[in-house]
Amino acid sequence: MTFKQYMKRAWPLYVMIVPGLIFVLLFRYYPMYGVVIAFQDFSPAKGFTGSPWIGWENFEFLFSLPEFGRIFSNTLIISISKIVADQVGAIILALLLNEARLVLFRRTIQTLIYLPHFLSWIVLGGILLDILSAGGILNQAIGALGIKSQLWLGSNDWFRGTVISSGFWKNVGFSTIVYLAALTAINPVLHEAAAIDGAGRFRRIWHITLPGIRPTIVLLAALSLGDVLQAGFEQILTLYSPAVYRTGDIIDTYVYRVGLISAQYSLAGAVGLFKSFIGFGLIVLSYWLADRYAGYRIL
């Protein structure tokens, strides 16, 4: 088939791509020139062309902050813990739900764990602040079991754990659904054949189900690495207080407080660019790893 013949047959497909392509170029690539403000002392009145260029000053300011080490490591610790907890938890939950026989039971659980995903952090935060306070329900409950009450939100020992587990509670349902969808794509014949060969439930999970969703695991893990500097701004903003800055202050919340003193568009631009840069590097790295060790490629 010559190219001409091919195009004669396939041109409607290319035409269909065009609107999407235009959308991506217009709304995803075109605005990227805005990153120039990261290297400017940007003022909206002077615009992109008129604002003075200041080179790396915004980045230098960010990296020379006395708290930079603290907020950077807090961001990484919280976000990596979240990614690991979220992925592992979602896989386990998906496997468990997949094995449940009763459809009604499965659907009910699935809906219930998915529910918090739809609530905003402002709402959830308000509820958590109440539940987790010194005299809140959680401390009352563990107090009844004879366990000493803890300041879940006010102590540097507990704050990260609180953030990670409440983030897990909110997001795990969503990730679970993705894995459940991947699980339905596994050919049941494989399971039947293995069962005839005498493989039990755990052997089948290990040898059939997990390898079957391996591309999905790799894909989701690779994608979430791109967000590794997003530790959950809204969540931490609603839950933290100065007493836990040491363990809970992340890059985004810090920059937010900088912005409260005066709007610093350029600094925010520099931080965004820095985060994207790290995220981009990690995506490339994880993609390479996925190709190397899981044989997963997009193209």
Binding site: S43, P44, A45, K46, G47, F61, L65, P66, E67, L129, D130, S133, A134, G135, Q140, L151, L153, G154, S241, P242, A243, Y245, R246, D249, Y254, R257, V258, L260, I261, S262, A263, Q264
Partner: protein, 594 residues
Amino acid sequence: MSKRFPYNTEDLKPSRRDFLKWGGAGMATAMMARYGLAPILAQNMGEIPAELHPGSPNNARGWTTSLPPIPEGMPVDPPVTITGSRRGPWEFADGDDIENSPFTRLNAAVTGIQWKLAFNWTDNEGEVLQKYNLAIASNELPDFMETVPLQVYSELLENDLLEDITDVYEEVAHPVWLKEAMSFSDGIAWRLAEVNGRKMGLPYIEQAAQNDKVLWIRQDWLDAVGMSAPSTIEELHAVATAFKEADMGQGGDGATLGIAANRQLNTWYCSLDPIFGAWGVMPTFWTPDENGDLQYDSVRPEIKEVLGTLRAWYSEGLLAQDFFTFAPWQNAGTHIGGNLAGIMYSPAFGAVYGLPDSVANDPDARWTFGDIPTGPTGIKKKAWSNPVPDTVYCFRKGFEHVDLVLKQVAWWAELLQSPANRYHGFEGTDYFWRNADGDLDPMGSVLDLNGYDSTKHIWGPPGTNGGSRTDPYFETNWIKERRNVWANTPEDERDALMEAFLGGDPLSVLWDEANVFAVDHWEADGIKNHFLTVPTRTMERAGTSLEGLEAETFINIITGQESLDRFDSFAEEWRSGGGDRITDEVNEWWHGQM
């Protein structure tokens, strides 16, 4: 009062020649002008058509709103259209909108000004910046800009985009309703709006003493422990301890707190600012020292004494174990509404915020308020709440009708702010009649989804969504009028407006009383923050770091995680970490002001 029409009737009939001269549409306008039907064109008539009046004179239990005299030279002819930006949201009846409402119709009749909406926003954090920045970037600034945020204001100033209104203001601003009304507290209203002695806009002014604290205390708990309201910090400590020991609260055993507090030591609700004030200092405020320089109060040695006191209170369990994770609004629900604390330093509106829940959860709860207790050396001070927020009304550079806007502002200021005029908005927009007996619902009409605000559709000041005014004593003057004049009207002679405001529930009566009390003590007891301008260069760079250090250190000292002597090293760190430079910059500005 009847006014003679200056024409004889014969003159009013349009002639055939008139028709030919003006043609169809033009004819209609001309006729309206001659017959005085279109108030905009009714030059020198001195009377506003009855249907445009606020108030409800025609209802059996209605009232009359008196209108101030029409400003000189108004309404202008031909009418002038002025564009403006507005904060929403709003809702109107019968096809009315923000450009055509009972307000704009009356306003056009009085002043000849027709307002046109340039843009509006509802979210006052992100959206307002976005809209203003867009207007700046596209070079389409409205003539009159409502509540311009500080960042945008400095942006506009830097780029010379604002009209200097100094000379016009001197010439036409009303001596009472603008000049005098805005001269309170040594002219603090103008600290932002005036730059190098030139007026670059009109101040946004809120209510006097609106966040000034009074001591709210449970009278029933005082009676139960046999004590009287504390007048010194020492007595306050004794009462708080007695409340805790008697376990007066509703929580589990030993859950009663001495005093409600939260993570911000100097804040708007359940604040501890009057305790710092008892030692004459105010964290986060800049105050003049004995040399006339500004000093940062958070690093003054007196702070250490207050932190020591609070540290002792915390260890005695008078403050909640986790008070430092609480936001003020959580105090209202958990500590006050949940009846765990019987003492708080909150503003007058505390009567209707937190207290209603407290009374609902414990019908025996009897709250009362009193003056803040004095410190060991007899000092009685609290944070002075500045009625001038970080926002200004601005005029576009080159705008020609600043004088008209100033005249309009004065006319509406007089109408709204003089209680004798009895302005309560427009029927069907700001209030409605609840039933056939003519009872008034003062809390807004069915159409007004955002509650009572009989001024928010006004292009102001006064008015606007958020309720700015020119006179910070406006609310208090109204309360005094209600209590001193209306309340003396025999009950069977009261109209619906009087009745709606006089028969309040006990908590809103308490609110009114606390408001008058707080305003009476506003100037005498307040510690003012004298730094009122855009942040300095070093504040922008190091401010977040220093603020974090301060907040973290103070909480850690109070909760005993760090020693009290940590305060000294904190003060040192603050100075070397940029604080000294900030102090220099602040004083450079401060001395440039005088």
